[in-house]
């Protein structure tokens, strides 16, 4: 894979499309084990991301990602906002000044993004958070030649497997055992992010 500035913008575009289309689905997931706002939050945030990207011109992939980071940080709110914001900030920092990103740099950047989420949110794998999608995706990037269809499958499976988990971090943790059996909303939005990435690198 390779990620140009246009690819990155396209990635955000596709992510936004999916999030807007599935806004109510994400909110419905958050209704069951949260507070009914994840779709609203993500839709608001990514809409602003697209506004921002549409209005600017970029010289580097990292600048695109920095704007994504800052916009998500200041428009999403809730738990998801600072976590997605941190992730994109780490991507941007790791890829600093690159105009084109190759697979290994991206894998490295993704690792730092995951570390950022962990550092910020103090959760880890298996706690039924977005990390349960981010970590498997990152593992896949570190260990393999990335293929679009495999990436899509891994992200999707990871999201679906959050169903089986019991939440111990975030708002869903208050539901204890009752959180089992439902997909984690943040994992669902993360799936939209990575399936969009798969489409871009296809």
């Amino acid at each position: 894979m390779e990620l140009t500035i246009e690819d990155t913008i396209k990635w955000m575009q596709l992510t936004n499309d999916k999030i807007q289309k599935n806004k109510e689905h994400l909110t419905a997931l958050d209704q069951v084990i949260g507070d009914s706002d994840h779709g609203i939050n993500m839709a608001r945030g990514f809409q602003e991301v697209m506004k921002k990207l549409d209005a600017a011109t970029y010289e580097t992939v990292s600048d695109v990602m920095k704007d994504v980071a800052m916009t998500l940080m200041s428009k999403v709110g809730g738990a998801a906002g600072p976590l997605y914001g941190t992730a994109f900030l780490k991507l941007s920092m790791s890829l600093k000044d690159s105009q084109k990103v190759d697979e290994s740099s991206f894998a490295k950047a993704l690792e730092e993004a995951v570390q950022g989420i962990i550092m910020r949110g103090k959760a880890n794998a298996g706690e039924k958070t977005m990390l349960d999608v981010w970590i498997p995706v990152q593992d896949y990037f570190s260990a393999n030649n990335v293929k679009a269809d495999e990436l899509e499958t891994i992200a999707k499976t990871a999201m679906e497997q959050t169903k089986e988990l019991k939440a111990t971090k975030g708002r869903a943790s208050y539901f204890k055992d009752k959180s089992i059996g439902h997909i984690d909303p943040g994992s669902a939005s993360s799936y939209y992010l990575f399936t969009s990435l798969a489409e871009v690198i296809e």
Binding site: D35, D37, R44, G121, G170, R171, F175
Partner: protein, 331 residues
């Protein structure tokens, strides 16, 4: 969804404008933000107090902005923590040179966003301290979990830390009081009906016609038990006992009591609950120093209530009595 609103996506904007226009001599909006501050902010050489969180809990938090309580409140979207840039604006708006103190309810979103704002403020040379309020005994308290939620007990933190700051205390002294309140305040709530986030349009959960949920959170997060509605006395006793058991009391200890309505519970019912809470406390030999009954920390139009007890010593009593000009808490 039946609501008196203009646009589900504009409720916070409209509300913030409505609040500052209702109290033009006391409150102002920091332009371009969702921050409501005291008209006179920043107060020179006074520690600035900032709280906030998702909207939908009114009068929390902007109702507690005023002399003797908060200097500013940040309003997030409904049930959504405000973003770091907004919190940063609040911090900057109230920094009078003595540092800024953040009162944060313990939710992942609030903690993350406020902490990031604190980092940004410190990078700009503003001294920041904070307290994380976690008074909800319905949730297990463990380092391996998100920990207890912050609910109505937060109002006592606003009040007492606010009174301390008004006396000219240092940032550290304010923190000592806030920590002391957090150590001594416990709450628990229950609900009869769900509430509806305007932009979601659907109730956040369901309860059968004969069901209630004990220990529910102020965003409708799961509680301890869902069961058949019992009497007000049984509810009051269950909430109060759970609170008392959590923090050891000795006969003769004094408390402030807050009976808080979650949104659509008639005040009549809050007084019926209060009656029994007083009875239970009396039986346990716990003295009631002062009682507050009303809507202090709501959850949109949820029906239900919470009980809060704050164990008092002389220092806290004095601060409880200090003047407050906040619109929603006048002393």
């Amino acid at each position: 969804m039946k609501k008196i609103i203009n646009d589900p996506n504009r409720v916070v904007e409209d509300m913030v404008n409505g609040m500052v226009q209702a109290f033009p001599n006391q409150l102002k909006r920091i332009p371009g933000t969702m921050v409501i501050s005291r008209q006179e902010a920043p107060v020179k050489n006074k520690v600035g107090l900032v709280s906030g969180g998702g909207s939908g809990h009114e009068p929390a938090h902007a109702g507690y902005v005023g002399k003797g309580m908060l200097d500013a409140a940040v309003a997030g979207e409904v049930f959504t923590s405000p973003t770091p840039d907004q919190v940063l604006e609040a911090i900057k708006a109230v920094d009078g040179g003595a540092g800024v103190f953040l009162i944060i309810k313990n939710y992942t979103g609030d903690v993350l966003n406020f902490e990031m704002a604190a980092e940004l403020a410190e990078a700009e040379g503003i001294q920041v301290e904070k307290v994380i309020v976690n008074d909800d005994v319905a949730v297990e308290d463990s380092d391996f979990t998100t920990g207890r939620r912050g609910i109505a007990g937060t109002i006592f933190v606003h009040k007492l830390a606010g009174a301390k700051a008004e006396q000219g205390a240092t940032l550290q002294e304010v923190k000592v009081i806030a920590d002391k309140v957090v150590q001594n305040v416990r709450s628990m709530g229950m609900a009869l009906t769900p509430c509806t986030v305007p932009a979601a349009g659907k109730p956040s959960f369901n309860l059968e016609e004969n069901e209630m949920e004990i220990g529910i959170g102020i965003h409708g997060e799961a509680g301890i038990e869902r069961k058949e509605i019992s009497t007000a006395d049984e509810i009051a006793e269950e909430l109060t006992m759970k609170i008392i058991e959590d923090l050891p009391y000795q006969s003769g200890d004094e408390v402030a009591v807050m009976i808080n309505g979650l949104g659509s519970t008639p005040e009549m019912e809050l007084y019926i609950v209060s009656r029994k809470v007083q009875e239970v406390l009396k039986e346990k030999g716990i003295q009631v120093y002062q009682t507050f009954v009303g809507e202090f920390m709501t959850s949109l139009e949820m029906a239900g209530c919470s009980v809060t007890l704050l164990k008092l010593d002389n220092e806290l009593k004095e601060l409880l009595h200090a003047e407050s000009l906040a619109p929603a808490f006048r002393v």
